[in-house]
């Protein structure tokens, strides 16, 4: 058994992929033990991606709180996704792979992947649901400019779920030449652990920055959860601090943790939206990045152990929070972290740290189509 997070995790994939997962595990362990790997990642983060990202006090958005935003929206390409894409690109080079395949929902991971493929000279194929291509058009155009081939997925829900399945099928077919650059802390082991470690820079920086700004740890740490990679990266910095409350915010119509059941999707056992027969249910969210019926196995574990709690935000609440942050702080957030922003007022905490995982340029059409 390779379940890593209590009863969650594992490698529920066809046999064809097992040797590649073994190879990836070995390369990852070797890289972690190699100081030059860490040094290269640090250099890329600083000189290419723009780390560290700042912490911004949002005084007008939340006048009754001391709310700090971790500004992953200011990272190159506009979202936290680049942290993971850069790390996995270095790993793919160590594995000798020349071709990268990835899935994308909102397009942020697709853009991050296309970006690192341009930077490292890899061939790049991104699978994206046809419905997501419609609602995230600017990102489709960016990926094309960066030299990636975007392949529409026209069946099923035409969103991230099917795009992920098609990416895995491509990987099964081309596993000898191809690295699957998964975008969230989901999938078969070792992916959830790799993505967590590559995103943990968010939590490490945030912890040091809030101690610098406030001289104490936050009372609550908040992040949005789709697959859950920005959240797990942020939470990683605070899980050991028992006094810090950890809150994940899901889209109410895609609440894999809030309303899901134990199930198997895309290679791991986690909490998923499924019916009583194990058939995966459709998720519904205005935010393409949260519109996914699964979630990283570590989140299911954190929920079960009580270390984190997970709440939901509706489309309308997210839109209201999106507009409110834009007007009060001059920051246009992505719709995904707008879900987390919507829950700030009701938290029983004064000093709050929130991961602003991406910027909202990609969402303008979706927001403008719904007048206030």
């Amino acid at each position: 058994m390779t379940e890593t997070y209590g009863a969650y995790g594992g490698r529920y994939v066809p046999e064809t992929l097992i040797p590649a997962l073994d190879e990836l595990t070995a390369a990852w362990e070797e890289a972690l033990a190699d100081e030059s790997f860490r040094a290269e990642l640090d250099e890329l983060a600083r000189d290419y991606a723009g780390r560290p990202t700042p912490l911004t006090r949002a005084e007008r958005f939340a006048p009754d709180k001391r709310l700090y935003l971790k500004r992953e929206d200011l990272l190159h390409t506009g979202a936290h996704k680049l942290n993971n894409a850069l790390g996995q690109a270095v790993l793919a080079r160590r594995l000798g792979k020349q071709r990268i395949v990835a899935e994308t929902g909102a397009g942020q991971h697709g853009v991050a992947t296309a970006t690192v493929c341009a930077r490292f000279g890899f061939d790049c194929v991104v699978y994206m649901g046809a419905e997501d291509m419609r609602r995230q058009k600017p990102n489709v155009e960016r990926m094309g400019l960066l030299g990636a081939e975007v392949r529409p997925v026209e069946f099923g829900t035409k969103t991230l779920k099917e795009a992920t399945s098609e990416s895995i099928r491509d990987w099964i077919t081309n596993v000898e030449t191809t690295h699957y650059l998964i975008g969230s802390c989901v999938g078969p082991a070792p992916y959830p652990a790799i993505v967590r470690e590559l995103q943990a820079v968010i939590g490490r920086e945030s912890r040091a920055q809030i101690l610098e700004a406030e001289g104490r740890l936050p009372e609550a740490v908040v992040a949005c959860v789709g697959g859950g990679s920005n959240a797990i990266g942020m939470f990683a910095g605070f899980i050991e601090d028992a006094e810090v409350e950890i809150v994940g915010v899901e889209a109410a119509g895609a609440a894999s943790l809030g309303t899901g059941r134990a199930g198997v999707l895309h290679g791991s056992r986690s909490s998923v939206l499924a019916d009583e027969d194990g058939q995966i249910a459709d998720a519904h969210s205005i935010s393409a990045g949260l519109d996914y019926p699964g979630v990283g196995p570590e989140h299911a574990y954190l929920r079960d152990t009580g270390r984190a709690r997970y709440v939901g935000t509706t489309d309308d609440e997210a839109l209201a929070a999106f507009r409110r942050l834009t007007r009060t702080e001059g920051i246009i957030p992505a719709l995904e972290p707008a879900h987390a922003l919507a829950r700030v007022d009701e938290l029983d905490a004064e000093l709050i740290l929130l991961c602003l995982s991406g910027r909202g340029d990609k969402d303008l059409a979706e927001v403008l189509a719904r007048p206030e």
């Binding site: 066809p14 046999e15 590649a20 099917e162 399945s165 077919t173 198997v264 027969d277 194990g278």
Partner: protein, 235 residues
């Protein structure tokens, strides 16, 4: 010795008729697909068949009923082929017990590689990418025969037989002498079937059989008979 011919059918209202036709055509074993919404190991033909079956209400209980109905019509071994999510929801052991009670000889779980859930007895799959160590683990754990995936890829017809099969069959023979080897994935024509059977003890035909089955039992019977002839000529 005669080579085994296994035919894959998706569970559905017509499946007992189709299974009977397949056996009349010369099938020695019927694999019965239990449809899943997100079948990672499957190409477009099986995926679409699964979508249709789910739309017809073929959930786990209905599939077990279908299995029992097929059991009443044919004598050959029946093997459900499905995905982990269904077993997780139904209960892993309970599924194996109820499938056996409905007439299954064993089962195949496409996304459950050897080593995961070792308590669940099932037919194991190996692939061209499997190391010799993986072949050993799968052969030791398998329930009856070992399923050789002929291609590095998903299910579905290919032009010609994969060149990977010869090496995989040779390696599997070396590490697991005495274990029966059946080749599947990508086999669609009588010529493919004969070529694959020359390297193994049997073949599994899925996607092409599903396509032919859309034209009804008689078309399926003729198609399976053409595969049967090819296998019998080859021996």
């Amino acid at each position: 010795m005669s080579k085994t011919l296994a035919i894959y059918l998706m569970s559905g209202p017509n499946t007992p008729d189709l299974a009977e036709a397949a056996v009349e055509g010369g099938a020695d074993l019927v694999e019965l697909g239990f449809p899943f919404s997100d079948p990672l190991a499957d190409g477009p033909v099986v995926r679409r068949a699964a979508e249709r079956a789910l739309a017809e209400g073929m959930r786990t209980k209905a599939c077990l009923d279908c299995l029992a109905a097929v059991r009443e019509r044919v004598e050959v071994p029946l093997v459900p082929m499905t995905y982990s999510s269904l077993l997780e929801a139904y209960g892993w052991e309970r599924f194996a017990e109820d499938a056996r009670a409905a007439g299954a000889a064993s089962l195949i779980v496409a996304d459950l590689p050897a080593g995961e859930r070792p308590g669940l007895r099932r037919i194991q799959l190996v692939a061209p990418t499997s190391t010799d160590e993986r072949l050993r683990i799968a052969a030791a754990a398998t329930d009856g025969w070992l399923y050789l995936v002929t291609v590095t890829g998903t299910t579905g017809a290919r032009a010609g037989l994969s060149s990977s099969l010869a090496q995989l069959a040779e390696r599997a023979r070396a590490v697991a002498p005495g274990v029966e080897l059946y080749a599947g994935f990508g086999i669609s024509t009588p010529a493919d079937a004969r070529a694959a059977a020359a390297l193994t003890d049997g073949v599994v035909v899925g996607s092409r059989a599903l396509e032919v089955a859309e034209d009804g039992p008689s078309a399926l019977r003729d198609y399976v008979a053409s595969l049967r002839d090819a296998l019998d000529q080859g021996t």
